[in-house]
């Protein structure tokens, strides 16, 4: 029986792990692991004995992958980290995503500059997935301010969805061997022709296994001349997309989540585009319970004013208990916890380093 909630909190200064018994009355915090080094991605792999993974993105000494086999009490570096071949000419500048693969020890990893790697041994060795990493578009992608990052890897049987900023959404229907750009309806408001084949600044993509073919996307919105391109939905496995931003105070934001038990319930954190901070200094998570048809603002317990933080693309997550709680981390180092699907918020930790990613799992 599941009885513990584990939170991996990747920050500018290392990885923290928070843990609570299932009533979630009190969380204890440990870390930082990989102290002083930024963590942009984390994974709690619950296939078999749980393993925790985190990227450790050292600007001095390069990329590492940390692994824990004791539920985040200790971490060790894996034997190697994703790296291009010497002949390739590219060098990994950051690790943006870690996801569980198909086999027990298989891991997938998205890096900057945008490329995909796969490990078959739990992170000790890595091979580049050439179908996307050497895609004919790859050398034409351009970095945004956050870098040219592959931040989203969604696996759905033989389908694999990738989110690349700034590259767009790429879809494989053969298990990751080959990929094609699938960006119809996804706007790039920063280009003269916003509806191009590829080059969109996708921020995050989410799906629910109970709604085959449906995907939700937080795209780079915030362009008055192109309203509504920021929050999107697809009902055909990502081949075409349509806006679901109507009713939100801003279509700019970074994370997007799906409720673990209801594919119609989704969450976003709208931000003002010019500052990437909460509209009016009053943070709010917005929830739709009808797949983006309408939205409700969730603010109880959150600051009402003078809060100008950013919530980054991987810094919001939701647990899988029967009444799930949301968690989001801020660039000002606060970790917020929203009971009952975000109805009631409290600050769990208020003085962490700037938070890059939050991953929660029930073990």
């Amino acid at each position: 029986m599941a009885n513990r909630i584990l939170l991996c909190i990747g920050t500018k200064k290392g990885l923290f792990v928070a843990e609570s018994a299932s009533p979630r009355r009190r969380f204890t915090l440990r870390g930082p692991f990989g102290p002083g080094v930024a963590v942009y991605s984390a994974l709690v792999d619950t296939r078999g004995t749980p393993r925790l993974y985190a990227s450790s993105c050292n600007p001095f000494f390069g990329m590492k992958v940390l692994r824990s086999t004791d539920l985040g009490k200790t971490f060790k570096e894996t034997k190697s980290a994703p790296a291009f071949s010497k002949e390739d000419g590219r060098a990994v500048a950051n690790i943006w995503s870690l996801e569980a693969g198909g086999n027990r020890k298989e891991l997938w990893c998205g890096v900057e500059p945008a490329a995909l790697f796969k490990s078959r041994d739990g992170g000790d060795s890595w091979e580049m997935v050439s179908g996307i990493s050497n895609h004919e578009h790859a050398r034409k992608w351009h970095p945004g301010n956050g870098g040219l990052c592959m931040h989203t890897i969604l696996r759905d049987g033989k389908r694999v969805h990738l989110g690349i900023s700034t590259g767009g959404h790429y879809l494989s229907e053969d298990g990751g061997e080959t990929f094609a750009a699938a960006n119809q309806g996804i706007g790039a408001g920063f280009l003269p022709d916003p509806f191009i084949e590829f080059g969109q600044c996708v921020h995050k993509i989410a799906r629910h296994s109970g709604a085959p073919g449906r995907l939700y996307m937080q795209n780079h919105g915030g362009f008055p001349e192109h309203p509504g391109i920021g929050v999107l939905r697809s009902d055909d496995h990502g081949h075409t997309w349509r806006s679901i931003a109507d009713g939100l105070p801003s279509d700019f934001g970074f994370p997007i989540l799906v409720h673990p038990h209801d594919p119609d319930t989704i969450y976003v954190m709208p931000l003002e585009a010019p500052t990437r901070t909460c509209p009016g200094g009053a943070p709010a998570v917005w929830r739709s319970e009808n797949g983006g048809g309408s939205w409700k603002k969730l603010t109880q317990g959150l600051p009402k004013k003078e809060s100008f933080f950013t919530v980054l693309r991987d810094a919001m997550d939701i647990d899988e208990l029967s009444s799930p709680a949301l968690y989001f981390g801020t660039t000002t180092g606060q970790l917020w916890f929203g009971r009952e699907g975000g109805e009631r918020w409290e600050c769990l930790f208020d003085s962490l380093p700037p938070i890059h990613c939050v991953k929660v799992t029930v073990v």
């Binding site: 050292n58 600007p59 001095f60 000494f61 390069g62 570096e77 034997k79 190697s80 980290a81 790296a83 291009f84 071949s85 010497k86 390739d88 000419g89 590219r90 060098a91 990994v92």
Partner: protein
């Protein structure tokens, strides 16, 4: 022999050693030797293209390699190569 001094954050890559010693005729040869003997240490000093990482500094005795002949700086027995991370901000 050339002595290679290692900073504390990199000593885990070579069983805790604070210095290594081996013959090498140039700074490039030092890195080649490290790639063979201590691949994880080499990966921390150079990226996968073989370029010394931007924030890692290599000194020959007291001189930064950029003030010498870069990786082609010749070495003679007794020289000391010091590997140091650049000074860090917040």
């Amino acid at each position: 022999m050339i002595t290679v001094h290692l900073p504390a954050p990199l000593r885990d890559c070579c069983e805790g050693a604070s210095e290594l010693a081996f013959p090498a005729p140039s700074l490039r040869a030092v890195l080649d030797a490290l790639e063979q003997r201590h691949p994880s240490l080499h990966r921390s000093i150079c990226d996968e293209t073989g370029t010394v990482r931007r924030h890692v500094n290599l000194f020959v005795n007291i001189n930064h390699m950029r003030d010498c002949n870069g990786l082609d700086t010749p070495l003679v027995p007794g020289d000391v190569v010091t590997i140091l991370p650049a000074v860090s901000g917040g």
